[in-house]
């Protein structure tokens, strides 16, 4: 029997890293096959090889039993391979129909035939139950609908093998359920699907088999019906997952952060934080659970003075700091580990030493009368590098040259060293390896023990459950409930994140 897709012994190297090391992937006709692994395990690289965006250094690809050479996405498309990208490949200013037919436009006498395009898109969307409005511009439609447009793009090109790259990352729980239904329907219609994911729940809900990869290497391919989540998880991580647990006693102290009736609008003037109330005490880790896009980013930015509030108050140490500038907030005792460490946390082309004083460069002893004291800065940086175990040749090395984990350590070192009253940690461990995750979790717990307030925002329920003293669930811009990690479970949190309060009432 031949496979729909067979990738044999694929090797792909990038300067300094082997992203794929002899990976073999066999996808049967009509199955949903999970490609499972941690961030950075090499899943996306492998799929980009299959889709023709990268050329493998070694290895062979067979499509329906025939050897294939895939130079570019055109070849992949010709072979019936379609990809639904994690970061949507959509042109905001184009209509849905224009996005779908781009590159294979229906023509009448050499002129674009948009009527035909709209008609074809309508037919396709009805056939597969993918509800879209072909004449709307992409910038006007929801994220869920944008994803359906991505799927339609592949179907329009007649693909029968669909790659979904982390498709649920941006979806709400309800949209995730819809997507799973869509994938099942597609398989029913004779398509085969490769689902790239690092979420166990999805695999057990819809996949037939899973191939696990770790650090660029094949671990195993298993039938889902023959395995269980714990087994699969330890395959992914490579050892028994040792979780850092917040076991320090919970002794909440005075209120450090108080938010009352907060309203915040986003760039398009849509209200994304609605009448939000929240208090964080000294000596506690407050976890904010929620699906991406429910106002977490805007909440943090409002606290940090990066985004103007519409109404409501924010108090830090009993001082009203609503709409203060960021520098004032930092001086008032705010520490912040931002979600996007490379974009927001570091100046990548600055040295580590320069990055260590990113907020304090103008203060004594780092500056005297407006003149930088480079020797003092270097000394400080050396000390922090040692204390926080940053692996680097020297403090003069540019932040760009460090690995993700070491970059995050630089940020954590800088923020913790300033000894802030309130430490905000947004997705502090995303994309890091297990060692770095443990280190950073340990540091957050240490801060709590020192009596500081820690506000942890994460999309990973495990992280929230293990670290928090209290869990606030955010949904559509307000706190739907606050629960204790000891008295809740993933199921209940999942329901809350979907907007359902205890007792089944719809919020």
């Amino acid at each position: 029997m031949s496979y729909a897709i067979e990738m044999r012994q694929i090797r792909k190297e990038f300067p300094g890293i082997v992203a794929n090391d002899n990976i073999t992937l066999q996808v049967e006709d009509g199955e949903i096959h999970a490609l499972f692994g941690e961030n950075g395990a090499g899943k996306s690289t492998l799929m980009n090889v299959l889709f023709g965006l990268y050329q493998p250094d070694r290895g062979e690809i067979y499509v329906h039993g025939e050897k294939a050479v895939i130079h570019d996405p055109n070849d992949a498309t010709r072979l019936g391979i379609g990809m639904v990208h994690q970061h949507f490949m959509l042109i905001d200013k184009f209509t849905v129909a224009e996005n779908i037919v781009l590159g294979r436009e229906p023509k009448k006498n050499g002129v674009l035939d948009m009527k035909e395009a709209v008609k074809v898109v309508r037919e396709l969307s009805e056939k597969y139950g993918l509800d879209v409005d072909p004449e709307k511009k992409v910038e006007e439609i929801t994220v869920g609908m944008q994803q359906r447009v991505e799927i339609l793009k592949t179907l329009y090109r007649g693909s029968d093998i669909l790659i979904f790259d982390e498709p649920t990352a941006v979806l709400t729980p309800i949209e995730i359920q819809e997507l799973i239904e869509i994938m099942k329907r597609l398989v029913h219609e004779g398509k085969s699907i490769i689902l790239i994911t690092h979420k166990l729940k999805e695999i057990f809900e819809c996949c037939d088999r899973a191939t696990v990869i770790r650090r660029g290497k094949n671990i195993d391919t298993v039938k889902i019906s023959d395995t269980n989540p714990t087994e699969l998880a330890s395959m992914m991580v490579g050892r028994k997952v040792h979780v850092q647990v917040n076991d320090a006693p919970y002794n909440p102290q005075g209120k450090v952060l108080e938010i009352e009736h907060l309203n915040v609008a986003d760039a398009r003037k849509v209200e994304v934080i609605k009448d939000l109330n929240l208090t964080v005490h000294g000596g506690e880790i407050l976890g904010i659970a929620g699906v991406d896009g429910n106002g977490q980013t805007e909440l943090i930015e409002a606290i940090a003075g990066l985004r103007k509030t519409k109404s409501g108050t924010i108090k830090l140490n009993n001082q009203d700091v609503t709409n203060q500038r960021t520098r004032k907030m930092i001086e008032a005792g705010l520490g912040y580990i931002p979600e996007d460490r490379q974009k927001h946390g570091l100046v990548l082309d600055f040295s580590i030493a320069e990055n260590m004083v990113l907020q304090t460069y103008y203060q004594k002893p780092y500056a005297q009368m407006g003149i930088l004291q480079n020797k003092v800065i270097a000394k400080k940086a050396k000390k922090l590098i040692q204390e926080f175990d940053v692996r680097t040749p020297s403090e003069k090395t540019h932040a760009r040259a460090l690995s993700g984990g070491n970059q995050q350590k630089v940020i954590v070192a800088r923020e913790v060293d300033r000894s802030p009253q309130l430490l905000i940690a947004a997705q502090p461990t995303r994309g890091l390896d297990v060692g770095a995750i443990e280190f950073i979790h340990g540091k957050l717990i240490e801060e709590k023990k020192k009596g500081k307030a820690v506000l942890l925002v994460s999309f990973e329920l495990d992280e929230i459950l293990h670290l928090s003293d209290r869990i606030a669930v955010i949904y559509e811009g307000y706190i739907i409930d606050i629960v204790s990690p000891k008295e809740t479970n993933e199921n209940e949190l999942g329901l809350l994140m979907a907007g359902r309060k205890k007792g089944g009432s719809e919020a």
Binding site: L53, T77, M89, D92, L102, G103, V111, L112
Partner: protein, 334 residues
């Protein structure tokens, strides 16, 4: 404002009408090179390549037009000479723009830097060649067969409209307007146009759909060279008649302003070019116009630039450049 006296008596209506018969043809004449060149810039920037080098492309076009008109005249082609010269200039402009394409697309140089260098090269190279061809003189001789202002047969006799729009105009102005409409059709109604715009908005998306980003961008820059060359040529054969170092002094940057003022839209660019042409015409003729003669002509001269700045501030509707304009495309980097 006090414009009433103008309309009180019959003879003053005549004088106002006369003013228009001076200004409108003059507007059309000065606008034509700007229309061609700004349309060229439109193709380049729509594909995602910023083109500061329009000035240089016009210079090369004007130079090529001068030299080839002189040559064609010499071989006895007469009135056809400037027309053929315009085509030659388009080809030369296209060739010259390939430098910008190679450096900024294939070598991933900063597009503004490459554009600046293109202007430098054009200024140096054209005068260098003029000196070589014309025995060390810094300027070309005057061409004898210009494209003259004529009355368009038939249309010129339409009462009222004829004298305004169809008398004492150059055919190039009408060709420019027709080309603008053609460009609009190409950009918005053909598969090519859709692909060109997709590459300027989101090259990675276009790439995954099998559209060659590199190829589309080369075409975009090439078209800017052809149209910029034609723009420079039209400027030469209708307005200046010889080429020297000051022939193209700012026309290319003015066309760039027109492109921005026209919000990167072909018809918008044409409208902006006509408006800038109008401002130039007015700055020349304002001394003959009642009330305007009291306004220093400097206001008319700087008006296009000041207005472009105002448009960019977003007071008059936001002008948005193509999203990926100026960003080199590197495969696999998102």
């Amino acid at each position: 404002m006090g414009t009433e006296p103008l309309f009180e008596k019959g003879e003053e209506i005549m004088s106002f009408f006369e003013i228009l018969t001076i200004i409108i043809p003059s507007t059309l004449l000065t606008a034509a090179p700007l229309i061609f060149t700004s349309l060229g810039g439109m193709f380049s920037e729509r594909s995602g390549i910023v083109n500061i080098g329009l000035e240089g492309l016009m210079a090369v076009g004007a130079f090529a037009a001068a030299v080839s008109t002189l040559g064609l005249e010499h071989s006895g082609l007469g009135d056809a000479s400037p027309w053929i010269a315009i085509l030659i200039a388009g080809a030369v402009g296209g060739l010259f723009s390939l430098i910008h394409a190679v450096v900024s697309i294939s070598f991933r140089a900063d597009q503004t830097v490459s554009g600046v260098a293109l202007n430098f090269l054009a200024a140096g190279l054209t005068i260098f060649l003029v000196k070589l061809i014309f025995d060390g003189k810094g300027q070309t001789p005057y061409i004898t067969h210009n494209i003259d202002k004529v009355d368009i047969p038939g249309l010129a006799k339409i009462p009222f409209l004829g004298p305004l729009f169809f008398q004492q105009v150059a055919y190039t102005s009408y060709i420019a307007i027709l080309i603008a409409i053609l460009c609009w059709f190409i950009v918005y109604k053909t598969p090519f146009g859709l692909r060109l715009r997709s590459v300027g908005e989101h090259p990675a998306a276009a790439d995954t759909l099998g559209i060659s980003v590199i190829k589309m961008r080369y075409i975009g820059v090439l078209l800017s060279g052809v149209l910029g060359g034609i723009g420079g040529a039209v400027y030469l054969v209708t307005i200046t008649s010889n080429y020297n170092v000051t022939t193209i002094a700012g026309q290319g940057f003015l066309a760039l302003a027109a492109l921005v003022f026209g919000k990167w839209h072909p018809i918008g660019a044409m409208g902006a070019s006509l408006f800038f042409g109008f401002a130039q015409a007015l700055s020349i003729t304002s001394q003959q116009i009642p009330y305007l003669d009291r306004l220093p002509s400097v206001f008319m001269l700087i008006a296009p630039y000041v207005l472009t700045l105002i448009v960019l501030t977003g007071f008059v509707g936001r002008a948005e450049a193509p999203k990926a304009d100026g960003v080199p495309y590197i495969k696999g980097q998102r």
